[in-house]
C-alpha cells in the first residue's frame, strides 16, 4: 500500500514541477552562496600572499598560503587591548544581564511583593520610549559613565524584554516547587538560587546568547560615550581601521617594520591585509558560536514572537 502511494506521488511530478524545483533550488543555492561567500573571501585573502590579495588576485582559491598576517596583526598596539575590552564586556555584560533578568523575572511573579504589578509596568513601559541621543549622552556624563568601561555594562543590566521572557517562563513552572522549598525553610534568595535558576536554564541560555552577541557586536556605545582609546571595543577599532587606511599604514610600519626590515612582499602587511585579518578575528567568535547555538537563537525568536 505504502509503495503504491509512493509510486503515485512520484508519477505526479509533471514538467511544471521539475522546472519549479530546478528554479527553486537554484535560487536558494545562489542566495546561500551570496550569504557565505563574503566570509570565505575574507578568510582566503587573509591566508594568501599579501601582494596578490592587495591586487585583487585572490577570489576563489587561496594562493601561497601563510599565516603571518595573524601573527603580525596581534602585535599591533591597541588591538589586543580592544580584544580584551570586547571580551570583558561580553562576559561581564552577559552575566549581569542574565542574572538580573532571571532575578527580576522571578521576583515579579511573587504575589506578595509590595506594589508588584505597578513596578512591573514601570519597567516594561521603558521598552516603548527613549529620550534620544543627546539626553542619553548628557545622562551618562552626569553619572560619570562617559569614558568609563562600565558604560558598556550598567545601562544594559535591566532589559524589560528579557524580564518578560523569564516571568512568562517562571509562571509556567508549578508553584508547588517553591512552596515545598519554603516549607522546608528556604528564603526567597535560596528559592531563586536552588530552584529558579536551574529550572529556567533553557530561557536563560537563550537570553545569554542574544546578550553575548549583542555585546560583542555593539559599536554605537563606543562611538558615543568613549573617547579614550584604551576603552575602544574591537568593533569600533575595526571601523577606525577601515576608515583610516593611511594612518594604519604608519601603524603597521611602526610595529612590524623595525624587527624585519627585509620582508618579502608576500608577507608584508598592507592596509588591506590588516583590515581583512582584523575582520576575520572579530568574525570568528560569531562563526564558531552560531552553529552550536543555532537552536537557542531559533527558540529565542519563537518565544519573542509569542508575546512581545
Amino acid at each position: 500500500m505504502a509503495k503504491l502511494m509512493e509510486k503515485k506521488t512520484k508519477r505526479k511530478l509533471t514538467a511544471t514541477d521539475i522546472t519549479f524545483n530546478i528554479l527553486n533550488y537554484t535560487f536558494y543555492v545562489i542566495f546561500t552562496l551570496i550569504c557565505i561567500y563574503p566570509f570565505y573571501y575574507l578568510i582566503i585573502n587573509t591566508i594568501s600572499a599579501n601582494d596578490l590579495s592587495a591586487n585583487g588576485a585572490i577570489n576563489f582559491i587561496p594562493k601561497k598560503i601563510h599565516f603571518d598576517n595573524y601573527v603580525n596583526v596581534i602585535k599591533i598596539k591597541g588591538l589586543s587591548t580592544a580584544a580584551w575590552i570586547s571580551l570583558l564586556r561580553t562576559v561581564i555584560g552577559t552575566i549581569f544581564t542574565v542574572l538580573a533578568s532571571a532575578f527580576l523575572g522571578f521576583m515579579f511573579t511573587q504575589q506578595r511583593m509590595w506594589g508588584r504589578s505597578f513596578w512591573y509596568r514601570v519597567i516594561v513601559v521603558t521598552m516603548y520610549f527613549n529620550a534620544g541621543l543627546i539626553p542619553m549622552y548628557l545622562t551618562m556624563k552626569h553619572l560619570y559613565l562617559t569614558d568609563n568601561f562600565w558604560v558598556y555594562i550598567i545601562p544594559l543590566i535591566v532589559q524589560p524584554f528579557n524580564i518578560i521572557l523569564v516571568k512568562t517562563y517562571v509562571e509556567s513552572i508549578p508553584s508547588s516547587l517553591q512552596e515545598a522549598a519554603e516549607i522546608d525553610g528556604a528564603g526567597i534568595i535560596t528559592v531563586f538560587r536552588k530552584i529558579i535558576l536551574p529550572t529556567c536554564k533553557p530561557i536563560l541560555a537563550t537570553i545569554a546568547i542574544f546578550s553575548a552577541v549583542g555585546q560583542w557586536n555593539s559599536f554605537y556605545d563606543t562611538l558615543i560615550y568613549i573617547t579614550n582609546q584604551k576603552l575602544y571595543s574591537l568593533q569600533y577599532l575595526l571601523y577606525c581601521y577601515i576608515n583610516q587606511a593611511n594612518s594604519l599604514k604608519a601603524l603597521i610600519n611602526n610595529t612590524a617594520g623595525t624587527s624585519t626590515n627585509v620582508m618579502s612582499l608576500a608577507i608584508q602587511q598592507t592596509p588591506t591585509s590588516v583590515r581583512m585579518t582584523v575582520t576575520v578575528i572579530v568574525l570568528i567568535p560569531i562563526l564558531c558560536v552560531y552553529p552550536i547555538f543555532q537552536r537557542y537563537f531559533v527558540k529565542g525568536i519563537m518565544i519573542g514572537s509569542v508575546k512581545g
Binding site: 535560487f27 509590595w114 543627546i134 543590566i157 526567597i188 583590515r275
Partner: protein, 317 residues
Amino acid sequence: MHVSKEVRTKNIPKLNRRKNVQGKIMFLYILPFLLLSFAFSYYPLHGWIYAFYDYRPPLKLSQCDFVGLQWFNMLFANPTQIKLIMKVMLNTFAISGLTLATTILPVIFAIFLSEIKCKWFRNFVQTFTTVPNFISWVMVFSVAYSLFTGTGMVNTMLLKIGLIDTPIKFLDGDTHTWLSMLLWYIWKSLGWGSIMYLAAIAGIDQELYEAARVDGANRFKLMRHITLPALMPTFFVILMLSVANFLNNGLDQYYVFQNAFNRQHIQVLDLYVYNVGMTGSSPSLATAIGMLKSLVSITLLFAVNLLSKKIRGVTII
C-alpha cells in the same frame, strides 16, 4: 483537629503581617534594579529641557540662554534649515518605505523554501542565510569594503569579463544609495526574518493540504490559499511594528556607510541627529529633533496598536 484549626485562625493576622514584611523586603531586593531603570530610562528624559536652551557644551545649562521654542521654529521657518530637513525626511521616508515594501520578502522566502522536500538542504539554507544577521554593521561594511573596492572581487570580475573598463565606485559614489542600503539590509536580515514564518508553516495542519489536493488544487493554489493565509497574522504584527519604527532607522548602518560622497542620500533622521548633535555645533537643535522624533514614534506606536485592535482584535504592545 479542632485545636489546630483554632491555632490557625489565631495566627492569621500574624501571618498577614509577616507576609507584608516579606513583601516589603522583596521590594527592597528589586529596588536597585528599579533605580537602574529610572537612571537610564526615566532620568534621561530631563534632557529634553536642553531643547529649550541655547546649550553650548563646556558651559553649564544655567549659564546658557533660555530660547523657548527657537529651535522648533527654526525647523519650520528657516529656509535653508527647511531644505535640509526636507532632504533628511525624504531619505528617511525613502529608506523606511523601501524597507516596509520588502517586509513581504521573508514570507515569500519561507514559502518557497518550505516547498523544497530535501530536509538537509532546507536546514543548510536556513543555517547559512541567518549568519549575516549576527554580524554587526561594521562587519557588514568591512565585507562590503573588501568586495566592492577598486581591487575587490566584484570589480576584478567585471573587469575580467570585460563589462567595464574602469572599476565602478560602489562605495565612494552616490549612485543608487537608497537601493544599496536596502540590499545590504536584505542581505543581512532576509534569512533570519524567514525563520518565524518557517516555524509557522511547519505548524500548519497537513490535512488541509491533502484535502485541497483532492479537490484538484495545484502547488501554487496551495501556497496562495493555505500557506499564505496561515502566515498573515505573523506578517501583520511584523508589518505594524515596522510602521511604528518608521522614523527609527537606527544609526549603525548609515553611520558606517556614510562618506562625503553619499551624505546627500544616506543621511536619515537618526544619523542627522548624530551629525548635528555630536559632531556639529548644536546639541540643542539635535535634542529638539530627537524629542519630536520620540513623540511621533510613540504616537505611531499607539496608532498602530489601535489599528491592530480594530482589525484583528489583538494588541501588539
